[in-house]
C-alpha cells in the first residue's frame, strides 16, 4: 500500500500541475472581479485581494437591459441547441443504425459543414437576413446557432449511438418491442448522458457568440445578447478591466452550473461504453 502511494507521488504532482495551469487563468479572472480597483493594476501581481469588493459586479450588473440580455441569451442559445439536439438525434440514429443509399455522402456533408468559415459567412448571412426582413430578429439568430451546433452534434451523437451495442436493442425486439419502443426503453436512457454532454458543447458555442449577434441585431437595445454586454465595458478611451472580469465571471456561471448539475451524467455519458456487449 505504501509503495503504491509513493509511486503515485510524481503522478499526483503532474496532476496538480495540470490542475494549476488549467485553473489559474480562471482563478485570476474571478480574483480580479473581486479586487478593488486599486489592486487590479498594482505594479506587482497580488494573488489575494487586500479586501473583497463588489464594485465591479455593481458596475457590471447596472448596465441597462441587463436582464433582457440574460433572457435573450438563454432563449437563443437554449432553443438553438435544443433544436440541434433533436434534429441531430434523428440523423445520428439513421446514420448509426440504418443502411441506406446516400449515407456516406451525408456523413461527408456533415463533416464538411464543420469547416464552415463562420467569420466570412457573416456577410452572406447578413444579406439573407436583410433581404428577408430578418434583421433584428432573435429567431434568425436562434436558427444560426442551431446550424452552427448541428454538425458537431450529429458527429458526436453518432459516436455515442455507435457506442451502444445494437445487441441490446435486438434483444428487446426479440422480446417483442417495436423499433421505437426498443429505442425509447433501451437506447435513449443510455444515450441521455451523450445528449447532455453534446448539448453542453453546443451551448458553450452559442452562448459565447458575439459577431453575428452584433451584426444582425441592430436597432433594439433590449434585444441584444450577453456577449454584447461583455463587450460593453470600454468607451473608446478606457477599458474597465474589473467590470469585464466580473461580467465574465457571471457569464460563465450558467455553463458551470449546467456542468455541475450534469457532472455525474456527463462523465457517465463519456463513459457510456461501460455497457459491454
Amino acid at each position: 500500500m505504501k509503495a503504491r502511494t509513493l509511486k503515485r507521488i510524481p503522478l499526483n504532482i503532474a496532476a496538480l500541475l495540470v490542475f494549476a495551469v488549467s485553473i489559474f487563468p480562471v482563478y485570476w479572472m474571478i480574483l480580479t472581479a473581486f479586487k478593488p480597483a486599486k489592486d487590479i493594476q498594482s505594479a506587482t501581481p497580488k494573488f489575494w485581494p487586500s479586501s473583497i469588493s463588489f464594485d465591479n459586479f455593481d458596475t457590471a450588473t447596472s448596465e441597462p437591459h441587463f436582464w433582457d440580455y440574460w433572457r435573450n441569451s438563454l432563449l437563443v442559445a437554449g432553443v438553438g441547441v435544443l433544436l440541434a439536439l433533436v434534429v441531430a438525434c434523428f440523423a445520428a440514429f439513421a446514420v448509426a443504425r440504418m443502411q441506406w443509399k446516400g449515407r456516406a455522402p451525408f456523413i461527408l456533408m456533415v463533416f464538411i459543414a464543420q469547416m464552415a468559415p463562420w467569420e466570412a459567412l457573416m456577410i452572406p448571412m447578413y444579406l439573407i437576413a436583410r433581404d428577408n426582413d430578418l434583421l433584428d430578429s432573435l429567431p434568425m439568430l436562434t436558427a444560426i446557432y442551431f446550424v452552427m451546433t448541428l454538425p458537431f452534434s450529429i458527429v458526436t451523437l453518432r459516436g455515442f449511438l455507435g457506442g451502444i451495442p445494437i445487441e441490446l436493442e435486438e434483444a428487446a425486439r426479440v422480446d417483442g418491442c417495436s423499433r421505437f419502443t426498443a429505442f425509447r426503453k433501451i437506447v435513449f436512457p443510455l444515450l441521455a448522458p451523450g445528449l447532455l454532454s453534446t448539448s453542453l458543447f453546443g451551448f458553450i458555442t452559442a452562448w459565447n457568440e458575439f459577431a453575428f449577434a452584433n451584426a444582425l441585431l441592430l436597432n433594439k437595445p433590449e434585444q441584444r445578447t450577453l456577449p454584447t454586454w461583455l463587450n460593453s465595458f470600454s468607451n473608446g478611451i478606457t477599458i474597465d478591466w474589473g467590470a469585464i472580469m466580473a461580467a465574465s465571471t457571471l457569464f460563465m456561471l450558467p455553463v458551470l452550473a449546467i456542468f455541475l448539475v450534469l457532472q455525474g451524467k456527463v462523465t457517465g455519458g463519456l463513459t457510456s461504453g461501460a455497457v459491454k456487449g
Binding site: A37, K38, D39, I40, Q41, S42, A43, P64, R71, N72, L75, G78, V79, L82, L83, V86, M122, Y126, R130, D133, L135, D136, L138, P139, T142, R184, F188, F210, A211, N214, A215, L216, L218, N219, K220, P221, E222, Q223, T228, N231, S232, S234, N235, G236, I237, T238, I239, D240, W241, G242
Partner: protein, 430 residues
C-alpha cells in the same frame, strides 16, 4: 413515452418562448410610449432613432435633449440608443445597408469618409451654411467630407494634452515646459526612485502623429492618385527617437496602448508625474480614486520651440444621416439642435470636450484642461482623408511600428514595413 413528450414539450415551449419574446418586446414599446399615443397626431407618432457612442454624452444631457426635441416636435419621439465601441464598424455598416436604418448615427471623425464614399449617407452639403459650418473645427469637418461633399456634421472634439501631478511638480520645483528639450529635462528630474517621470505606453499613435507633424511630415500624403506613407523618412525617425527617449522615463508597457492608463493612474496613488490623455480622463481617474482630487494640472503638448504648442491630432465625432433613414427631415432637426450653440456649450461643459465651433471655445477655456486642449487644437490636424483610413486604424500598423522602435528595432526598417501596410490599405480600390 414520457421522456420524449417532455422533449417535444420543451421544444414547443421554447418556440412559443421565442414568439412570446417577439410580442413581449412590442408590448414593452407600447408601454414605453405613452407620450406618443397620448400626443396629438402632429408628429405622426414618428420615432427618430439616434445612435450615440458610449461615453459621448451624459444621461441627463440626453434626457434634456429628448425633452426639448419632443416639445418642439409634438407627436414625434426621440429614441437615443447607446452603442458599444467593440464591433461598431460592422454595426454601422450593417445599419447603413439595412432597410430600416437609424436616423442619426454618431461615428468617429476618422471613420466618416468610408461611410460617405459608400453611398450610404445623405449628402448634407446644402446645410453647411445654415449650420454655421464656417466656424467648425477643421479637424472635425474635413474628415467628414468626401470629394468636397459634406457627410459628417461635427459633434464634439478632443485632443490630447499632458496631465501632470501638481504636488510632484512643486516638490521637484519644476514648471510646465514650453519646448521639447525642457520637457525631457524636467521629466528626467521627475523620474526618480519609485516615482515615474511620465507614464507613456509605447503605442500612443495619436501622440506620435503629432510629433511627426511637428517634424514636418504627415502619416501619409497623396501624390496624384496614389497614397505614400512617410514612416521611413528622417522626420519619422526623429519623432520616434523623441518618443522613445520620453517613454523610457517611466514604466509603462512598450507593447500596450493608452487604454489601461486611467486604471493604472488611479491605482498608482500619486507616483506618476505626468501622462498624456484627453483632459476628461482626469475626471475618470478621480472618480475611481477620489484621493487624487485637485492634484492634476494640464499643459499642451510642448512644441519643438516655444513659439507654439505641439501639433495635436484632433479626435472626436461627427453625426451622419443614413440614406436608408425613413425620417431624414426629423433627423436633420436633431442634428440642428445638437449643433446649436446652446446645446454645444452644454455638452462641452458636461464632458470637458471641445465644442464643434471655434467661436464657442469660451465654453471650455475657463477650465484648465479645456484651455490646454484649446492651445493644442489651434495647431490641430486630421488623419489622411481617405475612405480607406478607417481600415488602417482597425489594425493600426503605427502601433506595431512604435513597439518595434521602443524595443530597439531600427526606425527606418520598422518604418518601411509599416509604410507597406499603410500604402497597401490606402491604395486599395473600392
Amino acid at each position: 413515452m414520457k421522456r420524449r413528450l417532455l422533449v417535444a414539450a420543451g421544444v414547443a415551449a421554447a418556440l412559443t418562448g421565442v414568439a412570446a419574446c417577439g410580442s413581449d418586446s412590442s408590448d414593452d414599446k407600447k408601454d414605453n410610449k405613452p407620450a406618443a399615443s397620448n400626443a396629438p397626431a402632429a408628429g405622426n407618432g414618428k420615432t427618430v432613432r439616434v445612435w450615440l457612442m458610449k461615453g459621448s454624452a451624459p444621461d441627463d444631457y440626453i434626457a434634456a435633449l429628448k425633452a426639448k426635441f419632443e416639445a418642439d416636435h409634438p407627436g414625434a419621439k426621440l429614441d437615443v440608443q447607446i452603442q458599444q465601441w467593440n464591433g461598431i464598424g460592422q454595426k454601422i455598416t450593417g445599419a447603413l445597408a439595412s432597410n430600416d436604418a437609424p436616423d442619426v448615427v454618431e461615428a468617429g471623425n476618422t471613420q466618416i469618409a468610408q461611410y460617405g464614399a459608400s453611398g450610404g449617407l445623405k449628402d448634407l452639403s446644402s446645410k453647411v451654411t445654415e449650420l454655421g459650418g464656417k466656424d467648425w473645427l477643421t479637424g472635425l469637418s474635413d474628415p467628414g467630407k468626401v470629394d468636397g461633399k459634406t457627410y459628417g456634421i461635427p459633434f464634439y472634439a478632443a485632443n490630447r494634452v499632458v496631465i501632470y501631478n501638481k504636488d510632484l511638480f512643486a516638490k521637484a520645483n519644476v514648471q510646465p515646459p514650453k519646448t521639447r528639450a525642457e520637457w525631457l529635462d524636467i521629466t528626467k528630474r521627475l523620474n526618480t526612485g519609485d516615482q515615474q517621470g511620465i507614464y507613456l505606453p509605447g503605442q500612443n499613435w495619436y501622440f506620435y502623429s503629432g510629433l511627426l507633424k511637428d517634424e514636418g511630415a504627415d502619416i501619409a500624403t497623396k501624390s496624384g492618385s496614389a497614397w505614400k506613407a512617410n514612416l521611413d523618412g528622417a522626420p519619422a525617425a526623429a519623432a520616434s527617437a523623441f518618443y522613445k527617449e520620453l517613454q523610457a522615463l517611466g514604466k509603462a508597457a512598450k507593447d500596450g496602448d493608452e487604454k489601461t492608463q486611467p486604471e493604472v493612474l488611479a491605482a498608482d496613488g500619486g507616483k506618476i508625474a505626468q501622462f498624456i490623455a484627453v483632459p476628461g480622463e482626469a475626471e475618470t481617474i478621480i472618480k475611481s480614486n477620489p484621493a487624487l482630487k485637485d492634484k492634476f494640472g494640464f499643459f499642451p503638448i510642448p512644441g519643438k520651440d516655444a513659439s507654439k504648442a505641439g501639433a495635436a491630432l484632433t479626435g472626436g465625432s461627427d453625426l451622419m444621416v443614413p440614406e436608408a433613414s425613413k425620417n431624414q427631415d426629423l433627423a436633420y432637426d436633431v442634428i440642428k439642435l445638437i449643433n446649436s450653440d446652446e446645446w454645444q456649450t452644454k455638452l462641452a461643459q458636461a464632458t470637458k470636450q471641445l465644442p464643434n465651433k471655434t467661436t464657442l471655445s469660451s465654453a471650455v477655456t475657463a477650465d484648465p484642461g479645456g484651455a490646454a486642449m484649446m492651445e493644442g487644437a489651434k495647431n490641430g490636424f486630421a488623419t489622411p482623408n481617405s475612405p480607406n483610413w478607417a481600415s488602417v486604424e482597425d489594425n493600426n500598423p503605427i502601433k506595431a511600428y512604435l513597439t518595434k522602435v521602443m524595443t530597439g528595432t531600427d526606425a527606418v526598417a520598422a518604418g518601411k514595413e509599416a509604410n507597406a501596410s499603410i500604402e497597401k490599405t490606402l491604395n486599395t480600390k473600392n
